[in-house]
């Protein structure tokens, strides 16, 4: 097991290095000129060239990349004279568009995305899995039809549409909830809950639909297995039989959950945008439209890292959930 984890961690590091290289390389191929973007309105070719130098973009891409990697381990100094400042390790760069260190931006924004993703995940599991189990237990009956029908509706809604509908109804029309904004739970937990309930619901309803269907399918498939038939033949109570079935059906659920949660942790772009949540997803989108290379690289690496680690955790959990799985 220890060897397996070490090998996977090593592969994660290699992948992150490759991803960072590809991001750098792709960015250098884009037609957008970051030096022109930070040039200001009194822009002249001379100022653009000065900016290129200031941003380090006058260096060959491999040199820029090396400076970036060095910054992660030993930090970097930006600017000169009395305006110089340190970006301490792990320095993922400095956004001249935002006047912020990328590491700080990510650290500030990650908790918002995590709160959104984890809250939504708890809700969708709480809704989707029981609904799927119920539907499977009552296959073909009205409960099954209702659950699968509703799940299809929920899954079909685009999240931005659902988000807008919830805001227009519960905030603007009825005035039951405050206007979208972000308040940290440490600042005012009550307001935090009031502000997060709609984004959580928006994400959860979408995913709950999928998880209802997935759970139902897995349960039905497992309940048709030979060992379940054997268990029933031996006279085990149906409750115990279903518990066996659920456990075996959990593996694909776990896979989907790991990937979905990691994807959301890497940035729930639409929910963050519609609900004015300053998370990683919105940061990524804004940095792309601003051609803010340091932030793009930082968010891509953070997202990739999260997904890779989540995959590792899921793989490790397989062994716990399903004793038949052996990690070597």
């Amino acid at each position: 097991m220890g060897g397996y984890i070490l090998r996977r961690l090593a592969s994660i590091i290699v992948l992150l290095i490759l991803i960072s290289m590809v991001t750098f390389g792709l960015f250098s191929l884009l037609p957008t000129d970051p030096a022109a973007l930070t040039c200001g309105k009194s822009c002249t070719p001379a100022i653009i060239e000065d900016n290129r130098e200031r941003l380090g973009l006058d260096q060959p891409v491999p040199v820029q990349y090396w400076e970036f990697v060095k910054g992660i381990f030993v930090g970097r100094t930006y600017g000169s004279g009395t305006a110089a400042f340190e970006c301490e390790a792990p320095c993922l760069g400095y956004s001249f568009r935002r006047g912020e260190e990328v590491t700080k931006l990510l650290v500030d924004r990650f908790p918002v995305t995590a709160q959104l993703a984890i809250g939504a995940a708890i809700l969708w599991l709480a809704i989707g899995v029981p609904a799927g189990i119920l539907a499977a237990r009552h296959r073909g009956r009205w409960i099954d039809k209702t659950a699968t029908g509703l799940s299809l509706v929920a899954y079909s809604f685009p999240s931005f549409f659902l988000g807008y509908v919830l805001i227009f109804v519960f905030v603007i029309r009825l005035g039951w909830l405050p206007s979208p904004a972000y308040v940290a739970p440490t600042q005012d937990f009550g307001e935090f809950l009031q502000l997060m309930i709609l984004p959580w619901l928006t994400m959860a309803l979408l995913y709950a639909g999928f998880y209802t269907r997935l759970t139902r399918t897995q349960m039905l498939e497992t309940m048709g297995e030979d060992y379940i038939r054997t268990a029933r033949a031996k006279g085990l109570p149906e409750r115990v039989v279903q518990r066996h079935g659920l456990r075996a059906g959990l593996t694909p659920l776990l896979t989907a959950f790991g990937i979905d949660l990691a994807g959301l942790l890497a940035g729930a772009v639409i929910a963050e945008t519609v609900f004015s949540l300053p998370g990683i997803g919105r940061l990524a989108i804004d940095s792309v439209s601003d051609s803010d290379l340091p932030v793009i690289t930082g968010t891509v690496l953070a997202a990739a890292g999260l997904i890779l680690v989540a995959n590792l955790v899921v793989d490790l959990l397989y062994g716990v959930v399903d004793p038949r799985v052996r990690l070597t």
Partner: protein, 579 residues
């Protein structure tokens, strides 16, 4: 300045460009250029309460005074945080609003005989938020930061172009700003302090320098509080408010600056106790919230425009009558004609004659997008504007809004030369794409072939400002930095202008511009600008497409609101919250 920001967020996010001269005020739907503004939706100002600002933008583009160069941001910063030597008063009277009055200074400055030297004396009793006095040295230091072009980006560079400091062979100033100190002695000669009196020595006559110093780039900065690049996040205030919290992407909270003495300030009302600016509000949600005017949004105001999809509702429903505005925005939109590639004036006139301006305007949004333009000076600037007669006579005959392709063909024939093949550079967007096709089709009717060259919005100006990359036609927009065409005509058509996309180089014209710039009689100067505006149109240096407009809403309990002419913004310094 300056040109409108391009890109998907352009609508209300970052209207790059400072001065913005908006003719009409007051809630209403039928504002016409030159119409006197009505009173805002206001009674007697009320002190106290919390004013809310909502915006789809992620943050204030720049709060650092020397980097602040966006109309709305300039208006906000000058009202709340950062006073300047002179500033514009809050009034709905356009002419009065466009005339600077003393702010940090005791008066609007004293020039020498040829306006190459200006003196301002600072008032006593103006203090920073730590209680220390705002001194002449603080103003001098603040202005010096503009020269640090490696740190202080995005701001106006008038200090560099106007102060009498020598340049090197490449045309860059020999003073490199306070962070390196290189060339400091040169700056110390150009800007001097004698007690509370600051003197600016200029490299040319600038009769309207007291307008120039209304810009935040001439605001003081306390050296001990300067954090260079990062000063943007925590501006040290000398205005009526100070920053309690600034989290880009979330909020800016302003609270009263206890050291501020209203006795030193004849301009600002500073009525609310607290100002809460919420960023990154989704555009659709923001639009709906402003229309719904629910309890918590009644004290809210937004600098963002009403979404296009909502315009018909907002401007047809009487419930919005007292809180809607349809005003000129800061900009003239135009298509620059590169004279180095289209040197024949008859060819340029043919382009103007053939263009279907009605289609271009319609595709940009119709009546809400703006009014047909006849030059690069907009009516809301005041005395510098006069109709140029471009579409009535300057092209040789009257040209209808739909264009006159037959007359365009005639002009080409008269030129005796074939029309060069044209390429049209424009920053791509759905509206611009459609407009480009309309231009292409209209010119084709006059047998003028146009190739379209859509350019990604973020790099657009970087490309077209490069002489080697710019083609024959380039889409552009421009707003003046202060209410004087000295920030339009020389910038757009002078060889020293920063935005001469027409690549115009005419020594005789340069002399006339220099004469206008040096003219100290304002009325005489206005007459010269009017002549030069007409001349540039006669030369067909640009195809002016529209005098832009924008539409806004505010909450029903916000008082003192109107579109303030100097920055085309809300009059932040006199907004209040009604009971």
């Amino acid at each position: 300045m300056r040109r409108p920001t391009l890109g998907w967020r352009a609508a209300g996010l970052v209207a790059a460009g400072a001065l913005v001269l908006t003719a009409c005020g007051g809630g209403g739907t039928t504002d016409e250029p030159g119409q006197e503004p009505e009173e805002g939706a206001a009674g007697e100002p009320v002190t106290g309460g919390t004013l809310k600002l909502l915006s789809q933008q992620e943050q204030i583009l720049h709060l650092d005074p020397q980097r602040n160069y966006t109309g709305e941001d300039l208006a906000l910063a000058s009202a709340y945080l950062s006073r300047t030597l002179t500033q514009y008063p809050y009034t709905t009277d356009v002419e009065e609003a466009n005339t600077p009055v003393a702010d940090l200074a005791t008066d609007t400055g004293t020039p020498n005989d040829d306006a190459t030297e200006w003196q301002f004396t600072l008032k006593d009793g103006v203090r920073w938020e730590d209680g220390s006095d705002v001194t002449c040295e603080d103003v001098k230091y603040g202005v010096s930061r503009t020269f640090a072009t490696d740190v202080i980006t995005d701001g106006p560079t008038y200090a560099i172009s106007m102060l009498d400091i020598p340049t090197d062979d490449e045309g860059s100033s020999q003073y490199k700003g306070p962070y390196t100190g290189e060339g400091q002695e040169l700056y110390d000669e150009a800007v001097t302090c004698d007690g509370n009196t600051i003197t600016f020595r200029l490299n040319r006559s600038v009769p309207d320098f007291n307008y120039t110093v209304t810009l935040q780039s001439f605001a003081p900065v306390k050296e001990s509080e300067d954090t260079g690049e990062q000063y943007d996040d925590r501006v040290f205030s000398n205005g009526p408010y100070q920053i309690e919290d600034y989290t880009p992407g979330q909020q800016l909270i302003l609270v009263r600056n206890e050291e501020y003495d209203p006795e030193t300030d004849d301009i600002r009302g500073s009525y609310p106790d607290r100002i809460e600016y919420t960023f990154a509000v989704d555009p659709n949600v923001l639009d709906q919230r402003m229309q719904a005017d629910a309890a918590e949004d009644q004290t809210a105001i937004t600098p963002d425009s009403v979404l296009t999809a909502s315009l018909a509702t907002v401007f047809n429903d009487p419930q919005f009558e007292d809180r809607r505005y349809n005003e000129f925005d800061p900009y003239v939109r135009y298509i620059a004609i590169n004279t180095s590639k289209v040197p024949n004036v008859l060819h340029r006139r043919a382009i103007l004659a053939a263009a279907d301006r009605a289609a271009i305007l319609q595709l940009a949004g119709g009546e809400f997008a703006g009014d047909p333009a006849d030059g690069t000076i907009k009516p809301n600037i005041g005395q510098d504007y006069a109709p140029t007669g471009l579409w009535e006579e300057l092209l040789g005959q009257e040209i209808p809004l739909e264009g006159d392709p037959e007359y365009a063909k005639q002009l080409i024939e008269e030129s005796g030369e074939p029309m060069p093949r044209l390429t049209y550079d424009y920053a791509t967007s759905p509206d611009a794409d459609r407009g480009a096709v309309a231009l292409q089709e209209a010119l084709a009717r006059a047998d003028i072939q146009v190739r379209l060259n859509p350019i990604e919005a973020g790099s657009y100006y970087g490309v077209v400002l490069n002489e080697n990359q710019q083609n024959e036609l380039s889409l552009a927009g421009w707003g003046p930095d202060w209410p004087n065409a000295s920030t339009i005509i020389p910038e757009l058509f002078g060889t020293q202008g920063g935005f001469n996309l027409s690549r115009y180089n005419n020594p005789e014209f340069e002399e006339r511009v220099a004469e206008a710039l040096a003219e100290q009689d304002r009325a005489a100067q206005a007459a010269l600008w009017q002549e030069l505006n007409a001349f540039t149109m006669e030369e067909a240096l640009v195809l002016p497409t529209r005098f832009g407009r924008e539409q806004r809403l505010h909450g029903s309990k916000v008082g003192g609101a109107y579109i303030w002419s100097p920055y085309g913004s809300w009059p932040y310094g006199q907004l209040y919250v009604m009971e």
